[in-house]
């Protein structure tokens, strides 16, 4: 991330503390979104695993049926071959078991065919299981976790720690600025200072410009960035649809202050 040089490396420089609130909102947003995405990705992988497992079970049943038919065909062939007899002249009359023999061959071929398919399907499933096993390893510093562990760490730990840290910082800043903030994020002891429209607009412009910069960087640095780099967002909350929190409602997230403002 290309950040501007620090204006006050040894002092305090906060030109607009609302921008810090926006950042803590973005962090909370990131944590919640990643939690939703984690659940969606997990559901997708599980649906594939289940579908594969069901299909393999189906082929196992087919193999059992085919083996049963083979067993019946062999029994029929054996019965046929045992049905030979000696005629009145003492000659052994060999029975014609060509049909039974053909049925055994056909049944063997069917068993072989299904077994090969099953082995192939189980081999594919095994590869999938192996990759998903790695993906589901919990996050660890010494032994690295898998992707799911990373998302869990980000959504459950890192984003919470970051937002707690930032909230403590904001508490100090707001006390310093003598701004009392109510639980719903409004100013209580002093009249709310509405931001002029120009400031709101310039903030939005700044965010848009930053987004474009980040998008450009993603395009050049990340091979997985998709050519059009666009993703569907909910109009209500502006999040990717998997991470939507507003169910298409007009809600907008407000910063929630959890600390005791009476201190």
């Amino acid at each position: 991330m290309d950040l501007p040089e620090l204006i006050k490396p040894n002092g305090v420089y906060v030109a607009d503390h609302h921008s810090l609130m926006d950042l803590v909102n973005a962090i909370v947003y990131t944590g919640e979104s990643l939690a939703s995405l984690r659940s969606a990705v997990d559901g997708y992988f599980r649906s594939i695993e289940n579908a594969m497992e069901n299909s393999i079970d189906d082929f196992r049943r087919q193999l059992q049926d085919a083996q049963s038919r083979l067993s019946d065909a062999r029994a029929a062939l054996s019965a046929c071959e045992d049905s030979g007899y000696y005629d009145d002249d003492g000659n052994y009359v060999r029975p014609n078991c060509s049909c039974e023999r053909a049925e055994v061959r056909e049944a063997e071929s069917e068993v072989d065919r299904i077994r090969k398919i099953l082995e192939r399907l189980e081999a594919i499933k095994s590869k999938v299981d192996s990759e998903l096993y790695k993906y589901r390893q919990p996050f660890g510093v010494v032994i690295p976790g898998g992707g799911d562990g990373v998302l869990e760490y980000l959504s459950d730990n890192q984003s919470k720690e970051a937002s707690d840290f930032m909230n403590r910082l904001l508490e100090i800043i707001e006390e310093y600025l003598s701004v009392n903030v109510s639980a719903d994020g409004g100013v209580t002891s002093t009249p709310p200072k509405e931001e002029p429209i120009e400031i709101t607009r310039s903030k939005a412009d700044a965010f848009r410009e930053a987004s474009v910069r980040v998008m450009e960087r993603q395009r050049t640095e990340q091979p997985s960035s998709h050519p059009n780099n666009a993703v569907a967002l909910c109009l209500g909350c502006g999040r990717p649809v998997v991470a939507c929190i507003c169910a298409n409602g007009p809600l907008q997230r407000e910063r929630i202050f959890n600390y005791d403002i009476s201190r």
Binding site: Y29, M52, S55, E131, V214, H226
Partner: protein, 170 residues
């Protein structure tokens, strides 16, 4: 065309919003505490998200593939699985129907769909609501009979659009 959900784009969008806000905030907050905060939280979060998408990088280690490769891998395995099962497999096309409701897209089209939710793209462009009726997944056999396209359940987003256009014109 493969049917891979656009989770990678979505994760990148989340990262993009965090990084964009971090850049904006950095213009308003410019002291040692900011450096500490960004070094401790923002940079690692972005690096971990990048690792999640692209796999282990220099600074961050992760087991297995990044999400982008993993989704591609899963798609290939599903295709192989369906091909190996052949027409005898009860599962032909079943993955399509079993995918989570909210996502059903090809990754290179970045098209997501959630019920009747109005959508916009991260580029700010409205995405027209596709008139994809429920019967696509319910009456798959009819589609093949009527239009002789790919096997049911393997329709790409492009296939679906073509099907819908044909239906409208018939």
């Amino acid at each position: 065309m493969s049917m891979i959900p656009d989770y990678v784009s979505q994760v990148q969008e989340v990262a993009r919003q965090l990084e964009a806000q971090a850049l904006v905030t950095a213009t308003q907050w410019s002291d040692s505490r900011r450096k500490e905060f960004y070094d401790r939280y923002i940079e690692p979060m972005l690096e971990w998200i990048d690792t999640y998408v692209n796999g282990s990088s220099g600074a961050r280690s992760m087991q297995g593939m990044g999400l982008d490769d993993l989704l591609q891998f899963m798609d290939e395995q599903v295709s192989e699985f369906e091909a190996a099962g052949g027409s005898a497999s009860a599962g032909i096309g079943f993955f399509y129907g079993s995918m989570p409701q909210q996502i059903m897209v090809s990754p290179r089209t970045s098209r997501s769909e959630v019920q009747a939710m109005p959508l916009t793209s991260s580029n700010g462009v409205d995405i027209p609501e596709e008139q994809a009726p429920d019967q696509i997944s319910k009456n798959r056999t009819d589609w093949t009979v009527d239009y002789n396209l790919n096997s049911p359940g393997n329709f790409s987003a492009q296939n679906l659009r073509e099907i819908l256009n044909r239906r409208r014109n018939n």
